[in-house]
Symmetry: C3
Subunit: 280 residues, 3 copies
């Protein structure tokens, strides 16, 4: 039987089952706000997280990892050095890696660090519309500078950032995922949309970072980076919308999302995934 | 209609509604224990948190922020440098800022850092009795050295620290909030008390830090720093006591507090706030 | 009445009640993933946590603390310096301390740091089988190098690591606790086993770190380090298995474990503890 088309519920379910079967080691260099919730999300979905950021250690761990996740949310000077070592090691070892450019475009230091590590060929980039537009602009990949974001909030919608995302994908070779009410994922030629999720998710810190980490787990078990990113957006969005059915507020939602990531199965994915290729 | 008197339920409800309407950007330089729970509390109540501490970045973010929260709970040498840059930038840009002097008086390094940044004119200071008494003593603002605290626990009650708090407020120009079973808030001449809260809250880490962060959000939307601090003590205390009605233990309490911060409304505040000016 | 034998339910209950009566100050130098959950676990069981890692501050806090917990999970260069200062101070002041050698044997930097601090006479060491086998091998305490672990996962069972654990205990004078489906605890001559716990606990990040922190609290109130470690394994394991009865997934489990640590009492311990000396 041939595999399902990449942007279908069946393909998402296959990815989920591969994560569960392989428990890929996902190395995270991430921020102090989400280190706990990201590790828990990766464990809940069936991956094996490692949070390691000493400069000497990242070079040693990256080649052992099935994927690397780089998140600049609470960047420091030593962490920037560790990121440079890690992404360089990933390029050499062929470990797929994904960048989360938190608040890039607002703060110069992290903008420079994010731009620099693009030279190490990330397999994917996930951010909100403001972040992706800013990174595309910094990379010289067309488009105007976006309206400046405000911290980690985006002032633009995901669809608005699609031209910038396509340009950034073409310039870097990475798949680019733009989160929003409807997520847009592109590798340049192709575009897919994911419409899972719930508005209350914006009141829980770091669910974007969690989406990026889950995309790392999906990259670890699949060769099509764009499919991996789209599947990750379904998995976190679906966990969020199922959790929102029972959560009276964002505290409960954060907890229930971990429960749902753990309990998600083929049937739930087949029933609720809203993923589709976007006709050009 | 004239605005309600500052230390009334109606004034607290107005502050809450202003936060929800404006979603102020609250910049936090905080500790690794509470980064997640503080960000979630700010999101739950309707603010927009940013946790940023690279020295170069704080100078850039502070002028964009509606308030700055400085917490020395897990202070490091680079963080101390970032704090100095941030509070200096806050003074220059007029961004209101609040200090949480965690364990000041117990540990010399953080005591020195906290004392130094008082020169940058914090709008408010929130701590427990031991911390406030120690900081007042360090500042030369009268009073004996307090009985040494033990880590983050206070060995004294809030009322006992009121003279030190008044002196510290007069010496620095900041409003000073002392947390306890009954919180005492003063700007020197005025004193208000808040009697919301629940004893189980002392078994959840970082709820004092959360109170400080929420005070940052209140400072961002109000001109009267003392009213802002008092309103914040009501909001977190009220969330805690409503949460304690349904929480069988401190794990559930931490989650339910976030839900309650999200669900608090004018009616709940009008019904349950216990805030009053203290007659001299 | 003479005290109960060390590896009995009654002795565990006594330790729990001593923690509640004394609220020992437990100083943690730990990782960014578990700082919040560890502090909350210590508060829930009745101890008083302090997370402090500035190099100058650790030297000042260690002599005031009733126990020190050292965890190398997200080790950095400055943290390694702070650990060296802290363990040295603990040796001088007689503060009992415990090492959690997270991922030692996989990453050279932390392996060296963990090995170095053994010179400061830890009272206890807690890890999984891979970590304990690796540390014993590094210490030259007999045994072959273990099959390399993979991040924080152990590829071996606790019983398999018992010979290495005994050698490590004899070489260092520390009690060594090996976590697994059945925990094995040894001081060299003696061995005890603890069979509390639940498989879903492996899907929550940092429960091993929490076990180590609770062992710190137990060390703070008891003279028999091996009994302290065994009692801690019962307390966290029992909280986990009671929590698993009501938790539909790992998010809920993390929350319910804190509730259960808070609610554990003599009766629950007497009824459910599964602790026993292992006959030689």
């Amino acid at each position: 039987m041939s595999p399902p088309a990449p942007f279908t519920s069946a393909a998402v379910a296959d990815t989920l089952e591969r994560i569960r079967a392989r428990t890929p080691l996902v190395h995270n260099i991430t921020n102090i706000v989400v280190a706990n919730s990201t590790a828990n999300a990766l464990l809940a979905i069936g991956a094996s997280p490692a949070m390691v950021e000493a400069e000497d250690e990242v070079a040693q761990l990256v080649p052992l990892a099935a994927a690397l996740v780089v998140n600049v949310g609470t960047l420091t000077v030593p962490q920037a050095a560790a990121i440079a070592r890690a992404t360089h090691a990933a390029r050499l070892s062929g470990t797929p890696w994904i960048l989360d450019p938190v608040a890039v475009g607002v703060l110069d230091f992290r903008s420079r660090v994010a731009l620099d590590c693009l030279a190490d060929a990330p397999r994917a980039i996930r951010g909100n519309a403001s972040e992706i537009m800013a990174l595309a602009h910094l990379r010289g990949a067309g488009g105007d500078a976006p309206p400046p974001g405000r911290g980690v909030d985006s002032l633009s919608g995901a669809a608005e950032a699609l031209p910038a995302a396509r340009s950034l994908a073409r310039a870097t070779g990475a798949c680019v995922a733009v989160s929003g009410a409807t997520d847009h994922i592109t590798d340049g030629p192709r575009v897919a949309t994911v419409a899972n999720g719930h508005p209350m998710m914006t009141r829980v810190t770091g669910l974007g970072c969690t989406a990026t980490a889950i995309a790392g787990a999906c990259l670890a078990v699949g060769d099509d980076a764009m499919a991996a990113c789209a599947h990750a957006m379904v998995l976190i969005g679906l966990a969020g919308e199922l959790a929102a059915r029972i959560a009276p507020g964002p505290g409960s939602l954060q907890v229930a999302i971990l429960d749902m990531l753990y309990r998600l199965d083929r049937q739930a994915v087949m029933e609720h995934a809203r993923i589709a290729p976007l006709e050009p």
